[in-house]
Symmetry: C2
DNA sequence: ACAAAAGTGTTTCATATACACCCATGC
DNA sequence: GCATGGGTGTATATGAAACACTTTTGT
């Protein structure tokens, strides 16, 4: 009904495509889904979905995340919107790409199996069809840039994490090794990395200190320094 | 016809909104248009337009630029896509914001008058309705970030420019004064800033050297250093 | 005892910043 | 002759990068 105001103006399908990142075993991974419709049935594709009539783009991306992984409140950020007329062989579809960072331990493995989803290592990504490779490349680029000045990478880890885990996350995203002492030195200068006093023995013989991140303090200090 | 494949999926109007930057008199400016339809008729708004049925988003933004300013091949970059269900009172419209950098000397002043467009200084921007202030703020943020590692700001100047002009452009975008010697020192380290040998006397009594930017060399060196 | 990851500081180098004066010309 | 913008180097401070050994504990 509200749409009648712009009578004569063409309308489009609007979709979101999600590039979902996670961390496991010193490795950054991306969740892909086996395509269910022609062409290229069975081949890996980004997790996408159409935007609902009364839904915002962000809400649609969150809904796709919830449907496929069972997770709410996942970190999401818009990447770019792709709108070439021939980008989707099934019709005129505009798609906004989002990247997501989630703690893999919290996702529903049964659900992703049901949807034909699988984790792929960033080091060994398959070719994707349509403009999905571009979306993925752009998302990785943005993520690499972001972690240089924002602690978003923590969304890939549990609330309590070891410094080595965090370093592996950065290394996985950047695709390069980092110097342990320089890495830890920088973290020590940031008061919002809090040592919990607990220890983790699951990754080493000598126990590693567990930290958490004080988001509240981070935001306050950031605001203060602005 | 192609659209029949996704029968039952809701469709949306898709628009682009352009944040058009230019430089004049030591000042960065934004082009705004007087709104022609209710609500808020006559109040300033971003230059927007609906995307055509067979048109890409980029093409639509270029078309809006051409229609309103008479300029082709303008530098354009996507900012972000806004898709809140209630963002446009006239219907369900998804809008992708773009920012543009143009050489003000080359635009068609009659044309912008005809469309009710006016230049506003970045230092004295009006409040905008709907989500247009967010779009504008985001565009300025991206532009500030970009000029830190990319020579896009040159799109605001003629092919031949003085170093003082370029510094004023940077200062206008960043909203702060820069040190003349440090600014020029950095430029001298970049071999793609070429002194033309010509001089400009229009801005000072003592003539200023005119430079141009060798985009070819820039791209090659960038590629080489990657 | 040895393998495997945890933890810890200093030096060096590169980059960024601060800063002041002379020059050429039009009026 | 003076007002206006054009042009030039050095010294300091700050942040980034390189670099190696000891500790703890499970096997």
């Amino acid at each position: 009904m509200a749409n009648t105001l712009y009578a004569g103006v063409p309308q489009f399908y609007v979709a979101v495509d999600c590039i979902i990142f996670a961390y496991e075993n010193n490795d950054i991974q991306v969740l892909l889904q086996k395509r269910k419709i022609e062409p290229f049935v069975g081949e890996p594709t980004l997790l996408g979905g159409f935007v609902g009539a009364e839904e915002s783009l962000d809400d649609a991306a969150h809904r796709v995340l919830l449907e496929r992984t069972g997770m709410k409140d996942v970190f999401l950020e818009q990447v770019e919107t792709f709108g070439e007329p021939d980008r989707d062989p099934g019709g005129r579809v505009i798609s906004t790409a989002y990247y997501a960072l989630l703690n893999k331990k919290l996702h529903d493995t049964r659900l992703i199996q049901k949807f034909g989803c699988e984790w792929y290592s960033l080091k060994n990504l398959p070719m994707l069809h349509f403009d999905h490779s571009k979306m993925l490349a752009k998302a990785i680029g943005i993520l690499r840039d972001r972690i240089g000045y924002s602690p978003v990478a923590l969304n890939l880890l549990p609330a309590e994490f070891t410094l080595t885990q965090l370093q592996r996350v950065y290394e996985g995203i950047l695709g390069m090794e980092l110097d342990k002492r320089n890495f830890r030195k920088r973290l020590k200068e940031m008061p919002y990395f809090i040592e919990t006093g607990k220890k983790d023995k699951s990754f080493s013989k000598r126990a590693a200190a567990l930290y958490n991140f004080d988001w509240m303090m981070y935001k306050q200090l950031k605001y203060y320094h602005l």
